[in-house]
Amino acid sequence: MTTASSADHPTRRDFLFVATGAAAVVGAAATVWPLVAQMNPDAATIAAGAPIQVDLTPIAEGQDIKVFWRGKPIYISHRTKKQIEEAQKVPLSSLPDPQPDSARVKAGHDQWLVVIGICTHLGCIPIAHEGNYDGFFCPCHGSQYDSSGRIRQGPAPANLPVPPYAFLTDTKIQIG
């Protein structure tokens, strides 16, 4: 593999090989990018995930509804006095994922609990008004959540997440 020119200029030859190899690597990486990026949500899916508005007037005290936002079930509970008191009274030290009830509802709207109804264990949907804590019970692996959607018992590691939402009026919220 030795010729006159390569023996005279070994470094120039190496540089050429390295440059070509580097260009090939850059090209391959740039090609892989769109092939992977296509798996992300497309523009129509993202646009369909826009905020939704929910009217709260039909929900009586003690009732809850399930709405869907970005394909996820959102529980909106109209809590009773008893449920609110229970949620506020629990000592934080006894909770696996300590969080006061006030951090999980909007100030002045204590009666409304809005949580994403997806068990933080492995993604099943907990059933409302079941379990020992006046909250949610996940039938898959027995996780129990209280009336604030906080984990109390079972394998789930965290509280039911609160989606981003705001009160537009006293009876209308916008989720997202």
Binding site: F17, A19, T20, A24, G27, L35, Q38, N40, D42
Partner: protein
Amino acid sequence: MSGPSDFQPSNPALKWIERRLPIFGLIHSSFVAYPTPRNLNYWWTFGAILSMMLALQILTGVILAMHYTPHADLAFKSVELIVRDVNYGWLLRNMHACGASMFFFAVYIHMFRGLYYGSYKEPREVLWILGVIIYLLMMATGFMGYVLPWGQMSFWGATVITNLFSAVPYFGESIVTLLWGGYSVGNPTLNRFFSLHYLLPFVIAGVVVLHIWALHVAGQNNPAGVEAKTEKDTVPFTPHATIKDAFGVSCFLIFFAWFIFYMPNYLGDADNYIPANPGVTPAHIVPEWYYLPFYAILRSIPNKLAGVACMFGAIIVLAFLPWLDNARTRSSKYRPLAKQFFWIFVVVCILLGYLGSQPPEGIYVIAGRILTVCYFAYFLIVLPLLARIETPRPVPNSIADDVLAKSKGRAATAASVMLALVVAGGLFAGSTQNAKAEEGGDTPPAQSWSFSGPFGKYDRGSLQRGLKVYKEVCSACHGLNYIAFRNLADAGGPGYSEAQAAALAAEYKIKDGPNDQGEMFERPGRPADYFPAPFPNEQAARVANGGAAPPDLSLITKARSYKRGFPQFVIDFFTQYQEQGPDYVDAVLQGFEDKAPAGVTIPEGSYYNKYFPGHAIKMPKPLSDGQVTFDDGSPATVKQYAHDVTTFLMWAAEPRMEERKRIGMQVFFFLVIFAILMYFTKRKVWADAH
């Protein structure tokens, strides 16, 4: 693949695996140490190019299948959504659609190379026949892939091609019903074609393995056509052939990228941007360019069964080539007569391709018959005869002698080969331009568009004015199904802000529901909503418009075209002209004349239009001066309206164009540099071999 290898890895872990599965030895003997003739020219790099194309088609195809919906009602829309909404979806689709053409282009060169250098001759007959099988599988795969977008050409192509089987005596109709899965081409047909289109490439990959296996048993043929005898005749596959192939591949990618980024629709048919309609056949059913020669043969024979038999026979005859041509000398380089007949045959094939794209009338039919005879005569008369009467020139003693004899003038070879490739590509691709035969519409004048050429961009002002014209005039009758209000704020679009797009959406009433009471209701539009259709269904559109449903305008600039003719379409390939659609739309909008010229009768309820095929259009003159007022002081003339609304509709049809051309420039910049680097690397590696 050439017998047991003495290769031993030094790494203990690899050694451990090698003793149990000698895969490294296999790779080493097949792709590293494998002796390859020293005198291979660049026509031999097409094997590597084809391997890459197969891999690329499978890769992009698997990805497209993640986003595609194989259902007669949803397929067309899902393809549009891939192009519009999926991240880099336009790129993946263009790669796959143009990739099919590039695949065939490369396979034709590969086949002609085999033909010229006698690569099918003893002991490579099985290798050649496996190649013919791959080619047949490719044709089946390509055909079924073309059906999947479910446009007009997809649907009618599927109808015509499946009907070929009805020519089979006795069982014909049953076979066709079996293929369709119904009384006609429909959803079951689409579903099974999708399934088979996914399956066959993997079958091709399997046969390619056999093809390479057979190649490595017999060894590669070479331009001299003499077998390698000593070590002086060969070089190791790696690095020599690997680098040379990689250089060939990088040049081919430049050619490929020209289509992907700048001419994605050049090889396609405008009619395929019209959703499949079982009630209307396009005026000219033309298959993809790579089937055209065989299509021409089919149409040349005035008998159904004989036509189909000849068409398939034209391919099957290739499998018998090793026995039809039993001349001792392999390479046509040393066969003065065979060489001339080879080139005549190439011309015959290209001419047949051209005829396949023309309407089957008059002189075209006669020419088609003559050329069909020529095609078969080459295989059945010329080659067997030449084997007896031709006196070949003496062949070199060895490959090494051949290399020494022509070590001069090598530098020019690579350049001339690449030049020939590009020109041949342009010519070959050009034969796709089908006959939108003159049906009595004048040729629209070519306009100057801001979006034409490699640096073209949409004129924002024109897009916004065009939207206004659409909203105030066109939208009364024409839908814009694939455009959502959010698109108005997309990069490369009319340049509105998201708030402006949302405000525009809110002006529209969108039907939604059902609500908790089970009723449909109307609400203000949101950015995610699409422009609402002016009519609830096609029947309503039809009855309100004198029997002709106004077409949706989302794709109109890509779904309309006109014949460019020879040699214009070849020039178009180099100038990247692809604005037939906008030129036509603009011309039709301005082509209304109050009085039809003498001799032209326009039926009741139709209007005379200079550029509309047949001149009788159901749409009354839509635009007149002063109808729409522009805020920016642009003239309120029909000419301006037509130009602006056409620009807007071009954006509606090709919303990712600016991104496409921008990324295309980057890719070209990279590929050219990479090809230059590869060229010099190849020269260094081969320095000692010449």
